[in-house]
Amino acid sequence: MTRPPRLAAWLLSRAIGGPRQEELLGDFEELFQVRALERGRAVARRWYWAQTARAVLDAIRARRQRPRPPAGDSLMQTIVQDVRYAFRSLVGNPGFATVAVLMLALGIGANSTIFSWVNSVLLNPMPGSARTDELAQITYVYRGDVLPSFSYPDYQDLSRGAKQLSGLIGFDDAAVGVVIDREAERAWSQVVTANFFDVLGVRMALGRSFTADEERPGTTPTVVLSDTYWKRRFNRDAAVIGRQIRINAHPFTIVGVAAPGFHGSVSGLSYDMWLPIGTQPVMSAGGSRLDVRGSRWLQLVGRLAPGATREQLRAELDSVIEGMRATWASQQRYIDHRAAVFPMDNAPDGGIAVLRPVLLILMSVAGLVLLITCANLAGLLLARASARQKEIAIRLSMGAGRWRIVQQLLIEGLVLAGLGAVGALVALRWTAGLLVGFAPPSELPIYLDVTIDATVVWFTAAVAVATVLLFALAPAAQAAPLDVATTLRDSGSAARAFGRHRLRRALVAAQVALSIALLVGAGLCLRSMNQAARMTPGFQADGVVVGWLDLFSAGYSTEEGRAYYARILDRVRALPGVEAVSLSRRIPLGFIGGSFTDVTVDGHAATDRDPQGVGLNYVGPDYAATLRIPVIAGRDLSVEDVASQPRVGIISETMARIYWKDRDPIGGRFMFGRPRPDQEPQWITVVGVVGDIKHRTLTERPQPNVMVPILQFYSSTSVLNVRTAGGLDVMGAQLQQAMRELDPRVPFYNVSLLADHTKAATFQQKLAGDLLVVFGALALALAGIGSYGVLSYLVGLRRREIGIRLAVGATRADVFRLVAGSGARLIGIGLVVGLLLSIGVGMGLRSLLIGIEPTDPITYAGVIGLLSVVAAAACLIPARRAAIVDPASTLRED
């Protein structure tokens, strides 16, 4: 007996369903067998296939014509139906759909954007390295202050003593002059311990990493390039391995290229190359720091051993430091030092330290914006749900289950949120990159690469689902207990208008409250910026053009360098438009913090209450005059203060108060470090006392600070400070020209306005403030539209009631008061709740505030004023519409 073709039989059984499937299939088989017997197998098979094709076509046609019965459908089928239905109803209401999707795209987009930043900065603190959760930055803590730097001998002791670590690395950054093919340029490098790449788990794309030998001075200098630098400077040429390049006038051999995606061990910065720590003596002007226990310059990052915790590590490091303290007791090197251990996503410096507090605030703010969006949308959907109550009641009466109705409303919400999320992701391609735009100008190689990875997409999807639960549940909940009979009978009379819309009114009040909280946050940041701009940092940055010089990479010796500095000053002073000119090793309030030193003051008995160090800067003549730092006593540094003259310095007011107290500091003496019995103290005489200036932040307490002449002490890299009435363009060009004429080999770069650099000090406030203003404006607009919408809707419902009131003698003023009053009540409740929320927001922002309290009255007054204007508009327009209702025509309407 032949069998029908198997595939056709399978198809047939799929096409034919229902209770009669068996009989029908039996008929097919019987007819097939008869044909096979009478006319042969081939004919029968062809017939079977033809029959199958017809049956399949019939089945498809039947399915299309016959509406599927609602009962007994699978969940999947009803979901597909609901999605189709949702799309149809959205297409039918293009206005509502556009507004809703746009609002959702804004709300979700704000969250995705901030999250993409959090994801890149905090969740991926050291791109390119392995298992960053095992890494920890190690610092000293001295009386509550974090001191991030260690000396190389400290590093060696800790590295040997810490059993909780599987590896410890030390590193420092250094700007270097690189010469490749006789072409000079500046590059950013990290000087690192030899185990740097191994501990971080960074592979080499090419060549090898450093060997333990290379950590010792005197070995052949080697260098590992970053992938970016290798691409840019060597065009990905694999033959670079073994090639020699000149770094700071020394020959270095390229031994490796790090894997792509690794930019260095400091978050937010991107380095071009890494040099082994053994090359430090030839790399920096000050000579070898490798065997100087007092010279703290290395940052440490360790990898926890399997099973070890940060707390165990901290305890162990404390005991190692205890041992160091005992060994070096005579020198008081580790007076009261403890260890601190930070996870990399909460490192005390680098991009993370700057961005973390702001990002955490922004993330919560974005959440608030989303809440407002949801409240607004819930209001819109409720209005739609009321309009659709009849439809829903009809469906319920025809046998639709209540859960089925709720499911459909939720799916409609999901479709909206899905479209919003797609909009958000499209916008994200652009908004994610905005973070980079906020980066202040800096001499540092700032690197903020925000990548949109799967985590960000998942986050966006999760936010979209969460919004659905927030905004679509309210109308669904309202629809579920709907009383069919009442709704169908009821023609939308005004009587329901009040009690029934409590939820919508609550939503309006919530929106007002949330937007007040946001606006207060924005206002506080703006006021901080404003205060910061007015706050004097102790110097006047406006009108000062700065530019960086690097004599070391041009091969200058100390003597030549001092002479060259003097020539630069003479030359620039003579340029037209120059009011004053000076040099300094660092600029105040830049992104790079200051440098600190131990001092011993003649006649001051050291106590434990002394500051751990004083700020130190090497500056040129007339520095105080150039930056307009007031000279309180004595004099500014002058061109006479050169190497051949006695060593002098000027000190800050706070320095004078701490170390000289009632004595006259002018003529007093201090020295760097501590006196050693075997050495004559190198005293420096105080010739002037100047006002305190801010070094790192505008909110820091006044710091003790000393400035010594760069022409006596020398620093091979320095900043030229020029006070001029001319702008950056004119003066910059003149300075470039002058430098080229003096010595074209000396790099003179990053010519910019000092004021732009000191803005770095308010970077956090600017980032938070700008975004809060955007979010706040968004919230205000949403709340305004929301209040207006709800009031207009209520007025619409109450037209009949208003008509009756007018007909029985109410004046138009009464009606106006009635409507405006109900709006004002709502907004008033929102205002009170919002002000309470704002106090919380203010507390959250406290760390970012400059010169104002979290309860700053001006901010609060401004926000209340602004909101009142918007609220008045939102109330008065519907109230006016109510007042001009024509009683005769409204009463005729029904």
Binding site: D27, E29, Q33, R54
Partner: protein, 114 residues
């Protein structure tokens, strides 16, 4: 008591299927109907179309059905036997009558002996 509604009007294929049922009598089931139609009309039929039609006729109350016994030739699947119901007979008669009335006197044109 309202007057009984006239029997439903039959479509052409429905008439053919019903005639096959009448012709087959007690032996009428799906495959037999198909074979009968093919044999008599000389045209191929779609088995699924025959079944759809039978199902529709049954829903209208013109045809009745019952489950029969399986045979090995059918792959062990049972049969469904059909029988023309009383209403169906009336419909068939009405259809035939109207066809005959319409054709009356046109026999020479329709290719049938007078």
């Amino acid at each position: 008591m309202p007057r009984a509604t006239p029997p439903p009007v039959l479509g052409e294929f429905e008439q053919i299927v019903m005639l096959a049922l009448v012709r087959l009598g007690a032996d009428a089931y799906g495959a037999a109907v198909c074979s009968e139609i093919e044999k008599r009309s000389g045209r191929g039929v779609s088995v699924s179309a025959v079944h759809t039609t039978l199902e529709r006729l049954e829903q209208k109350g013109l045809v009745r059905s019952r489950i029969g016994d399986p045979t090995p030739q059918r792959g062990g699947k049972r049969k469904r036997h059909f029988e023309v119901a009383a209403l169906g007979m009336k419909s068939l008669q009405a259809s035939y009558r109207s066809l005959r009335n319409m054709a009356d006197g046109l026999e020479h044109l329709l290719g049938e002996p007078a």
